[in-house]
C-alpha cells in the first residue's frame, strides 16, 4: 500500500533507461547463463557502489557502476570516488569530492583509483583543517601535496606479514618496489565545495583535474556547462592525456556555483554521452532534466545504469546539488502570511 502512495512510481522502475537500440546486454539478466556478469575472483569488484548524504545546504550523492567490459571479463571496476566533509579553523565548512578513473593500460589501476581517491580526499581534509589554511593559497598547494605526500604513499604499501594479512584497499600482494608508476595510472578530479551558499546565493568552488574525466555544472536552467581549466590550446585542456601519479601538476579552475546548480563529476563512461562538441546527446538531455533536483538513491542507480550500445566502460558520477530543498511558491506564501 505504501508503494502505491508514492507520487511517481514509474520513476522507481528497475528497468534501465534505454538510449537508442537495445544493446546486447539490454535484454540479458545479469544472472543468465551467458556469463556476461562475472564476479571478481579476489573481491573489490565494486559492481555497484553508492554514497549519499547532506551537509550544510548541499545534497551529495555518488554512484559507481562496473562497466560491461569488466563484468564480462570478471575484472574490477577501475573507477572510484571518495567524499569527505571538513571544517576549517575559521568554521568554514567544505565538501571534498574526489573521482578517479583508472587507465585500462595500467595493471593495478583499480587499486590505484581506490587508494588515490581516498588519499587525496584525506589530504585535502587535513590541509583545510590545518591552522594555516587559507582558501586563497589552496590551489597553488595542491600539486605540491600530490607530489610530496600522495604519490609516494600510493607507490608503497606494507608487506603482508601473514598468509591471511592482506594490504589495505586490496593492494596487490606483491612487493611495492616491483610496481611501476605506469601500473598505477589514474585520472583525478577534485572539487572543494563550500557547504553554504554565499550571501548572493553563489559560492566559489575549486575544481582540479589531471586527465580527461569530465566535470560539468548542470545549470538551474537545465543546460550543461563545461568548466575550462588554466591554459587552453584551441579549447583543448593541455593535461587531457595526463595521468596521476605520472604527473602531479593539476589543472585548477575556480567556478561559481549558483543556488539551484548541480556540480557533476563524471568518469568518461558517463561523460562521453552527455554532449558532443557542446551539443547535448540523448542521455545528456535526459539527465539534464531529471538531475535538476536531488534523486533518490535507487533512481540514481537506475539513471547511471542506462542501456546504450558501446557504452561498456565503468561509470561513476558524483552529484552535488546546491539547493537541496528549493522553496516552492506554496511554502513562500506560508512564510509571508502572518
Amino acid at each position: 500500500m505504501e508503494e502505491e502512495s508514492r507520487p511517481d512510481d514509474s520513476a522507481r522502475s528497475v528497468t534501465p533507461l534505454r538510449i537508442g537500440g537495445a544493446s546486447s546486454f539490454g535484454d540479458n539478466q545479469w544472472w543468465s547463463n551467458r556469463n556476461w556478469h562475472q564476479l571478481v575472483a579476489d573481491g573489490f569488484g565494486a559492481d555497484v557502489a553508492c554514497d549519499a548524504g547532506t551537509v550544510g545546504e548541499l545534497a551529495i550523492s555518488a554512484v559507481s557502476i562496473r562497466g560491461h567490459k569488466h563484468r564480462v571479463d570478471g575484472l574490477p571496476n577501475e573507477d572510484s570516488f571518495a567524499i569527505r566533509t571538513v571544517k576549517s579553523k575559521a568554521d568554514e565548512e567544505f565538501a571534498i569530492l574526489v573521482l578517479c578513473d583508472g587507465l585500462s593500460s595500467a595493471k593495478y589501476s583499480a587499486y590505484a583509483a581506490r587508494r588515490t581517491s581516498s588519499l587525496v580526499a584525506d589530504m585535502v581534509r587535513r590541509v583545510v583543517s590545518d591552522d594555516t589554511f587559507m582558501w586563497e593559497t589552496l590551489s597553488s598547494g595542491l600539486s605540491q601535496c600530490l607530489r610530496e605526500f600522495v604519490a609516494p604513499e600510493l607507490s608503497s604499501w606494507p608487506k603482508p606479514t601473514t598468509a591471511l594479512d592482506l594490504p589495505a584497499y586490496g593492494a596487490p600482494p606483491i612487493e611495492s618496489l616491483s610496481v611501476q608508476v605506469s601500473d598505477l595510472l589514474v585520472t583525478l578530479t577534485i572539487a572543494i565545495v563550500p557547504t553554504s551558499n554565499g550571501e548572493k546565493g553563489a559560492s566559489d568552488v575549486l575544481l582540479g583535474t589531471i586527465g580527461d574525466s569530465p566535470a560539468y555544472v548542470l545549470l538551474k536552467s537545465g543546460e550543461w556547462l563545461k568548466p575550462t581549466y588554466g591554459e587552453q590550446d584551441d579549447g583543448v585542456l593541455t593535461t587531457a592525456t595526463a595521468a596521476f601519479p605520472k604527473t602531479t601538476d593539476i589543472a585548477i579552475t575556480q567556478i561559481i556555483l549558483y543556488e539551484g546548480d548541480c556540480l557533476c563529476l563524471m568518469s568518461d563512461g558517463v561523460g562521453n554521452f552527455i554532449q558532443n562538441k557542446s551539443v547535448p546527446l540523448r542521455l545528456g538531455q535526459h539527465l539534464a532534466e531529471v538531475w535538476k533536483t536531488p534523486r533518490d538513491i535507487p533512481t540514481l542507480v537506475r539513471d547511471v545504469s542506462f542501456d546504450l550500445r558501446s557504452a561498456d566502460d565503468d561509470r561513476t558520477v558524483i552529484l552535488c546539488w546546491t539547493d537541496r530543498e528549493p522553496i516552492d511558491a506554496e511554502i513562500t506564501d506560508e512564510i509571508e502570511v502572518p
Partner: protein, 226 residues
C-alpha cells in the same frame, strides 16, 4: 528526442575479397566460405564487439559486388558466400568501396552515431588484371587530404599475389603468404587473424584499429607509397 544523437560508437569493417576464377583452383573459395561463418559466429557471440563493430562484405572479379551491406553481426542471419568467376579487377573493388563507405558513414551519422575511421581487409590471390589503372582510383580512396573518410587498409596476398602490390594496398598493414604454403590454409589463417583484429579493435572502450600480427604462414611486407 528521437532526433538527438546518442553518441554510440561504431567501428566499421569492410572485408573486400577476391573471387576471381583463380581462387577456385587453390581452394580459396572454400576457405573463405568456411571462414566467414566462423568470423560471424565469433563476433556475434561477443557482446562487447557486436555492439560496437559493423561488418560489410564486398567481392570482386570482373566487377565488384556488395554481398553484405554494413551490418551489426547479431542482425546477420547467415554470412553470404563468394563464388569463383572472372578476372581480378582491383579498380572495380576500390570504386565500389569508396561509394559504399561514403553512403554508410552518411547513414550512420544521420542516425546519431559517432563513427570511427573505417578499416578494410583486402584479400587477393593474384595480380590485378586492370594493369595500373586501379592505382588512381585507389589513391583517391586512401588520400586523407582529399577523402576525410579514407579507410585504414590491411592487405593480404596469397598464391600469385605480388608482395610489392600488396605493400602498396596496405596503408597500416600488409601480409603475404610464404612460398610453399597451401593457399587455402593461408586464407583460413588470414580469416582467423582478421577476426582477432576485429575483436581486439572493438573490445576497448574507445575503439581503435588493432593491426594483426602476421597470420601463420604469412610474412609482413613493407608498406609502399602508391
Amino acid at each position: 528526442m528521437s532526433e538527438t544523437a546518442t553518441g554510440e560508437n561504431i567501428l566499421p569493417f569492410y572485408i573486400v575479397c577476391d573471387e576471381s576464377g583463380s581462387m577456385e583452383g587453390i581452394g580459396g573459395i572454400d576457405a573463405i566460405n568456411s571462414g566467414l561463418p566462423e568470423l560471424h559466429s565469433t563476433i556475434a557471440s561477443d557482446p562487447l564487439v557486436s555492439d560496437k563493430c559493423r561488418i560489410g562484405l564486398i567481392s570482386f572479379s570482373d566487377i565488384a559486388e556488395e554481398l553484405l551491406p554494413l551490418s551489426r553481426a547479431t542482425d546477420i542471419p547467415a554470412m553470404p558466400g563468394v563464388q569463383a568467376k572472372g578476372v581480378t579487377n582491383y579498380g572495380e573493388a576500390f570504386t565500389l568501396l569508396r561509394y559504399v563507405i561514403d553512403r554508410d558513414i552518411d547513414a550512420l551519422k544521420s542516425q546519431g552515431y559517432q563513427v570511427f575511421r573505417p578499416a578494410v581487409f583486402f584479400i587477393t590471390d593474384g595480380e590485378p588484371t586492370d594493369d595500373q589503372s586501379w592505382e588512381p582510383t585507389y589513391r583517391s580512396l586512401i588520400d586523407k587530404s582529399s577523402n576525410r573518410r579514407a579507410p585504414n587498409v590491411i592487405a593480404f596476398g596469397v598464391n600469385g599475389a605480388n608482395a610489392t602490390t600488396i605493400g602498396k594496398i596496405g596503408t597500416v598493414g600488409a601480409f603475404i603468404a610464404s612460398n610453399g604454403i597451401n593457399p587455402g590454409n593461408a586464407l583460413k589463417e588470414i580469416l582467423r587473424s582478421l577476426t582477432n583484429s576485429i575483436v581486439s579493435s572493438s573490445s576497448s572502450s574507445t575503439p581503435q584499429l588493432v593491426v594483426p600480427a602476421a597470420p601463420d604462414g604469412c610474412t609482413a611486407v613493407p608498406l609502399q607509397t602508391v
